[in-house]
């Protein structure tokens, strides 16, 4: 075990007992009954920390074999949230937890829920939150599609936890993302709006009809 690279693929091959022993040898305190994937996460984090300390110019050594993981990891052991724009009306958010934090939060008997806070931001610098709403998510949820309120310049999704005693706790913030605002503004579906003749000839009326049919929620 000593000379085997500690990769996720290798760690997945070990029994839970071996993982606990390895964690113990590495100085990681493992609470009893902790899920093996959390132990793997902790070990990998340690490897990553150690590798940053290794001089980067050190050479790679040819190993006899490489174990490739059969499955992709369930977690990257980091508390973070990411937001991607699906269309002008909807965003997709996905998140992950650091295993220790997750265990601490959900293991607390006062734990109530995780939730997403969807913030509408102004165009000022720095952007100000002009409105927000919350969406409760389950402890095992890792993704959510959110419909955006209109009128915001940009938006940001925050990941929070809440328990019965303390104030809500901010866990992670996505980057701010601009929400596309239609150049024809609120009149995009206004059939009475007069367009320049070449724009009309380009088919804007048909385009608007199609957008109204498929994306009306995106332009409220």
């Amino acid at each position: 075990m000593e000379n085997t690279p500690l990769t996720r693929a290798y760690l997945e091959t070990l029994s839970t007992t071996d993982l606990v022993v390895l964690a113990d040898e590495s100085g990681i305190d493992i609470p009893e009954g902790l899920n093996r994937r959390f132990i793997i996460g902790e070990l990998l984090e340690l490897v990553e920390d150690n590798s940053s300390d290794i001089e980067d110019s050190s050479n790679l050594v040819d190993a006899e074999y490489t174990i490739t993981a059969e499955i992709l990891p369930e977690t990257y052991n980091e508390t973070q949230i990411t937001m991607l724009l699906r269309d002008p009306g909807w965003v997709f958010a996905y998140w992950d937890f650091h295993t220790t934090l997750f265990s601490a939060l959900t293991g607390n008997y006062r734990f109530e829920t995780f939730f997403l806070r969807i913030n509408s931001l102004s165009s000022s610098t720095p952007p100000a939150v002009i409105d927000f709403f919350d969406v409760e998510v389950g402890p095992h949820d890792r993704k959510w599609y959110v419909h955006l309120p209109g009128k915001a310049y940009s938006c940001r999704v925050d990941l929070y936890s809440r328990n019965t005693q303390e104030k809500e706790q901010l866990l992670a913030r996505s980057v701010e993302t601009c929400i596309p605002s239609c150049g024809v503004g609120e009149s995009v579906f206004d059939s009475k709006q007069k367009n320049p003749p070449l724009v009309e000839l380009s088919g804007i009326t048909e385009l608007r009809k199609n957008h109204f049919r498929n994306h009306r929620q995106s332009f409220n």
Binding site: D62, T68, L72, T82, R86, C182, G203
Partner: protein
């Protein structure tokens, strides 16, 4: 009216489907069919038009992945083997259908095409068709646009600018490897525009791109000329708007030309109909049924309407549809020009190349007829983007609207419940790659080799093809495997660099499997200083 220009663009793209250890796999069929029914016939058309002195202008965005597959000796040899098997199989089909003269005639036509393809591919193009496209580009007939290394959906990486730069830079390196021209245009994969991308493109020396109709028509402000002239972003970068309505006249699944009952039913292929015993002469049936190119029936809506394909009827329809399309474009351009008091106007028709010869068997012939009719009547002038770009930028500048040419008009096809699980992996791998490029800026030897391999696998994982294919039941498992394979390979390198051990045997095997982007430099993922 002579300045009215019709710009025609084909987006040539396919997923990377090289499987050295699985000869005859179904995935390869897509590449070989594209060669047989789209690219070789297109080159023949271009050659005929050039020989006859008929002017033609065509823009093509060649995906670097496709170029790498066209230039791949293994795939070239396998294509020749496939052609040879098809020719032998065609001869046996003649015997099998000895009592059906209509089918025999169709088999003979198909055999002629197969033999022509083999001759052209081996003797004329010496197995690499890109040289001939480069020839046409150098002679002013074709304009070849650059694009990303893999078919990467850029709007979903705007918060990771290094990913976008890496895609563009590797795409450019591959462009220079296969073509001798300098690209002034850039094809955004899926025409997916996100505000600000014009700044990146301009920084790389590109002058224009093409957007879906609503990218221009919902812009702020709306360009006065609508889709009939290029518009200019706030940084002066030129954007052309695709005339989606015109394009749908061709391929709309309900009313487009492709639905005409006289055209070949490309989906009714004997590869899906005959007994495995018969087909086993053509391909390994255990690897899955597939398109063979032997298709005998015309497009009919019901089985009772079923009829054999008649070449002369389809040909007459091609001529009629080409004329109809040109008349309509000329009418629109004339109207637009009149509204602009005689100012030159243009319209852009951009299509996936796979429609021509693939979804629509007669598509290349239709395209040829467009050029022939236009030349005969001396009215519509086909043009290249670079010819239409105005010399001076006007005062009015726009902010184009978020858009793509996917059916939804935005990102829905590449970001939904069937494929959203992929983003945490590919984006994490991307940020890790940037980190590696920063940590190992000057490394060489085994480390450099590993990093180059990791960046190659990451670029492959970023290809939207896998995300898109996850929506399609029959292809989703293949897409999942390919995506996971690339992410896993990347992860092995990432973790190996942490532990300082890597198996060179594994590295060599992985490099041999995916031989594309041999000039790749992992430092393209570095942060721009």
């Amino acid at each position: 009216m002579a300045d009215n220009a019709l710009i025609f663009l084909l987006n040539a793209e396919l997923p990377y489907i090289r499987h050295p250890d699985q000869p005859g796999c179904v995935a390869e069929t897509h590449l070989f069919n594209a060669l047989s029914y789209t690219y070789l016939p297109l080159l023949r058309t271009c050659t005929s038009l050039e020989t006859e002195g008929i002017p033609f202008k065509l823009a093509i965005s060649f995906a670097p992945v496709l170029c790498e597959m066209f230039a791949d000796p293994l795939l070239q040899e396998r294509y020749i083997e496939t052609l040879d098997k098809s020719i032998d199989f065609g001869l046996s089909e003649l015997d099998r259908n000895s009592l059906s003269p209509e089918i025999r005639d169709l088999i003979k036509i198909h055999l002629d095409q197969l033999q022509l393809n083999r001759r052209d591919f081996v003797e004329i193009y010496e197995k690499n068709i890109l040289k001939k496209f480069d020839y046409f580009a150098n002679h002013g007939y074709i304009e070849i646009l650059a694009t990303t290394a893999t078919n990467c959906y850029l709007p979903l990486y705007t918060d990771i600018p290094e990913a976008i730069s890496a895609q563009i830079e590797t795409g450019l390196i591959t462009y220079r490897k296969h073509f001798t021209s300098i690209p002034s245009g850039f094809w955004l994969p899926a025409m997916a525009y996100t505000p600000g991308i014009e700044c990146t493109l301009k920084a790389y020396g590109f002058q224009y791109t093409i957007l879906e109709s609503h990218g221009l028509l919902f812009a702020d402000p709306i360009p006065d000329a609508g889709l009939f002239a290029p518009a200019f972003c706030r940084n002066g970068f030129t954007v052309f708007g695709r005339d989606k309505i015109a394009c749908l006249e061709v391929y709309d699944s309900a009313h487009g030309f492709i639905t005409n009952p006289d055209y070949l039913d490309v989906n009714r292929d004997i590869g899906f109909e005959l007994d495995e015993d018969i087909l086993s002469a053509l391909f390994n049936t255990k690897l899955g049924r597939r398109m063979t190119g032997f298709r005998y029936w015309a497009n009919r809506k019901t089985a009772s309407e079923s009829a054999y394909y008649q070449f002369h009827k389809a040909h007459a329809q091609v001529c009629e549809d080409a004329r109809k399309f040109l008349d309509r474009r000329m009418e629109m351009l004339d109207k637009a020009s009149a509204l602009l008091e005689g100012e030159p106007v243009s319209t852009v028709c951009a299509f996936p190349a796979s429609i021509f010869g693939g979804i629509w068997y007669e598509g290349i012939s239709w395209l040829e007829n467009l050029f022939r009719i236009a030349a005969d009547e001396n009215q519509t002038c086909f043009a290249l983007f670079s010819q239409v770009m105005r010399q001076k930028t006007p005062d009015k500048r726009i902010s184009p609207y978020y858009s793509s040419w996917l059916d939804s008009g935005y990102n829905e096809e590449v970001l939904n419940n069937s494929n959203d699980w992929m983003y945490p992996f590919v984006r994490k791998a991307t940020t890790r790659m940037i980190d590696l490029a920063e940590r190992f800026p000057d490394d060489s030897g085994l480390k450099e080799r590993s990093l180059n391999m990791a960046s190659r696998e990451l670029l492959l994982a970023q290809s939207m093809d896998w995300f898109y294919m996850m929506n399609e039941g029959e292809q989703s498992e293949y897409a999942r495997q390919r995506f996971e394979e690339s992410v896993r390979a990347f992860t092995v390198v990432y973790e190996s660099l942490g532990s300082n051990f890597i198996s060179t045997e594994w590295l060599t095997t992985t490099e041999k499997r995916h031989t594309l982007f041999s000039e790749i430099n992992y430092r393209v993922f570095s942060k721009k200083k």
